[in-house]
Symmetry: C2
């Protein structure tokens, strides 16, 4: 007898959870399609060299690496101890690794299939990724990413459409109150440039990001501690007054970065997005300009997106941004792209917490035929076939059993209607149907039952 | 610059192929649901010890094994050379492996979640599996399995329903001509028993299986060469006359196995399935009793299923059977189950070969707005929003470009309608819409266009 457990940080999904997850995935996919994005899939396993060096040193360590097989393994294992570092040893023994995100495989895909696809290429991809992270609440070693990207154009129309798409998906999911935060990497670059500390962009950005938590003096202390000059800090202070009003913030930033070329470009981009979105209108999202938003500083070059569900203490549920050189690592230059990624697990937690899953989306089997024995079973199998042909999910308890047992089964599986066809019903050509919600019973013909259930 | 290629035996799926694959998967899922099966998912990675020893020695070698991480790897690699065999070395270095099929993880799932699920448990699962097989035409290292199983009952109603379910799925996919072959492991056991060669069941079964290819004398020669007695061979000869008529075959077999207890049981099972299916009726499948059908002899204990698409030279597209001790390996005894597995890649090949994919299922974006420049773009973005709100997949070319380039884009992406909104149309409040199939043009209001596209 083997032990039956799963690897830490992974999950079995039971039917009730699957139904909820599928509601999220289907809603996302549907909206992606309406916006003209097309599905692609890439293999779960990539050549190890495709993935290493793409996620920083820490990322390399979190890759799940797959052992070479057969004689290749035999010969590698003989000389593995001679290799110096852990990394070198791992590379010596392994040839493949599990996908760590969808972005690098997508970049590889675009380069490899560049003659097959039409640019600008709008693709979506919902697939699992794996990371050898320390598991924690809400952090898993296997989880699904839901990405939509447009590559092969630097048009800001794409940013506008992604804002609309986020609004569309989260509204369709029924999330009642959420804010799309927008920033631009060029503004962050400009701020550091304008205060004369271009090489300290990351430091300044990260300090400002903490304003909420540590207050003005805290930020000043951090900046000063990290070697930012007093003159620069004095200038940065004027940013502390930024609130949530996008228009006002844009004005403040406009004055701040007016002498920076890159700053003016960033501002122009932000203004285009805000103005165009305003003209089109959003269904329910709030759109904010948040100059402290600082995700993906290693790769984003323009817009930066993040979405927060308001009133729940769960981190961002969508993230994204523009990257100007996605495919450069695989030898294809000048392919600009912009994309967003929905965090399905966090969205699940938000929806579960707020009880947002619509009941209709969670229904499995609608009708169970009770099994009274071989005679009635043979009769019911024909009725069952008729019900299924009409598109109604139905089943029969596969063997005669005590009524109580069959009712308990229906209850546990969440089946709302139970058909009882005993010898009387067979003779009369009808069914006794019990509603499991309120316990009421009806005598119906099969046609009446079908039209009720449809 | 890294090299951008994928591991051998794996595939990138481009949008046009994804649309076809999704048509298959969605059709299968839909039918599974109508039959009361519920979705579950298990992790792609399982503990190595959960999988090893479950697929025979060859299977163990085909598992993709995942290296232990961090210090666990460091300490393992130091002493790996001391381990004797390849297997021991691999186990020393690895803690996880990729799923090899859906059956063993499902058994593990049932045992681990036995208090959460209701028996009889009808589950379906569509997930990828990985095997380090030598890649060949139609054989991949990563592929999707589509399984439906009922566990926790030995009722033959389940076998009947699985025959119906196969009929349902393949009819819905539009496969014009296919045969469900049915056999029973108990009959195979009985044949060997009746001819006095119980220990040569596999040999006899496999020899009979070759009747089509090598003829009667070929089978006799093989049986004789493998030590089956002349008396036994003489008795087996009477099976050579079996044709395709299920009823006639059942009669022949009935006489043949009448002195075998297990044979009579097998016959009873087959008769129940054939008679019940006959009463209910099938939509388009042919159902045959094929005594030479011999898949899964290591685990199937009752019914054995296999489906062949007629008129195409592609192997079986569905397989399955009953197993009486699925979960025994994980310590839960007496859980009988029966299941089927659809081979999506082979079904894809059949459908592609016969051009069976319905055009409607393959449509992506329905409408493209041509981009004439910033003014028209701003105007079109509002119309685009209106079209999408109506549930029509639509997009705008994200930047002004030559008409020819935008039309080529629409053509390559298979977009059927292109909306041209220049300054004239903006002034008149209408759109010029080109049908890309026949080149015809219409002038429409946005409302008219939407009602045409819906």
């Amino acid at each position: 007898m083997s032990k039956s457990s799963i690897p830490k940080g992974t999950r079995d999904f039971l039917p009730n959870v699957m139904a909820k997850r599928n509601f999220i995935f289907e809603t996302i996919k549907k909206s992606f399609q309406i916006y003209g994005f097309e599905a692609i899939e890439t293999p779960a396993i990539e050549n190890l060299k495709t993935l290493t060096g793409k996620y920083g040193e820490e990322g390399d360590q979190l890759l799940f690496k797959i052992l070479s097989r057969g004689e290749k393994f035999d010969s590698a294992v003989e000389s593995v101890v001679d290799k110096e570092s852990r990394g070198a040893k791992e590379h010596h023994l392994c040839d493949l690794a599990l996908r760590y995100d969808l972005t690098v495989p997508f970049a590889r895909f675009v380069v490899q299939n560049q003659n097959e696809i039409s640019f600008p290429f709008r693709r979506y991809q919902l697939q699992s990724v794996w990371r050898g992270d320390r598991p924690a609440r809400g952090r898993y070693r296997e989880f699904v990413q839901c990405d939509a990207d447009v590559v092969g154009t630097d048009s800001l129309v794409c940013e506008v459409e992604l804002v609309q798409l986020i609004d569309e998906v989260l509204t369709n999911l029924g999330i009642p109150d959420f804010t799309i935060k927008l920033n631009n990497r060029k503004i962050l670059t400009a701020i550091a440039e304008v205060v004369g500390e271009s090489d300290k962009m990351m430091t300044i950005t990260m300090a400002i990001d903490k304003l909420d938590k540590v207050g003005e003096e805290g930020v000043v202390k951090e900046l000063s501690g990290r070697g930012v000059s007093d003159a620069a800090i004095e200038k940065i202070r004027s940013l502390f007054s930024l609130g949530l009003d996008a228009k006002k913030n844009l004005e403040t930033i406009s004055k701040f970065v007016q002498e920076s070329e890159v700053g003016k470009k960033g501002l122009e981009e932000l203004e285009f997005i805000f103005n165009t979105v305003e003209k089109i209108g959003l269904r329910s999202a709030k759109l904010e300009f948040d100059v402290s938003l600082a995700r993906g500083l290693n790769y984003y070059t323009g817009a930066i997106f993040e979405v927060k569900a308001n009133g729940v203490s769960i981190g961002s549920i969508v993230g994204g941004g523009r990257y100007d050189n996605l495919t450069g690592i695989f030898g294809l230059k000048d392919v600009s792209g912009v994309g967003i990624s929905f965090g399905a697990d966090r969205i699940f937690d938000v929806m579960e917490g707020l009880k947002l899953f619509p009941e209709a989306s969670l229904n499995g089997t609608q009708l169970l035929f009770v099994n009274f024995g071989p005679q009635e079973e043979a009769y019911c199998l024909k009725l069952l076939n008729q019900v299924r042909k009409a598109g109604v999910s139905a089943e029969i308890y596969p063997k005669k059993a005590k009524m109580n047992k069959q009712m308990t089964f229906a209850n546990r599986k969440g089946i709302k209607h139970v058909a009882m066809v005993g010898s009387e019903e067979v003779a009369a050509g009808n069914l006794t149907v019990k509603n499991m919600d309120d316990g009421s019973q009806q005598t119906l013909t099969i046609e009446q039952l079908i039209s009720q259930l449809k």
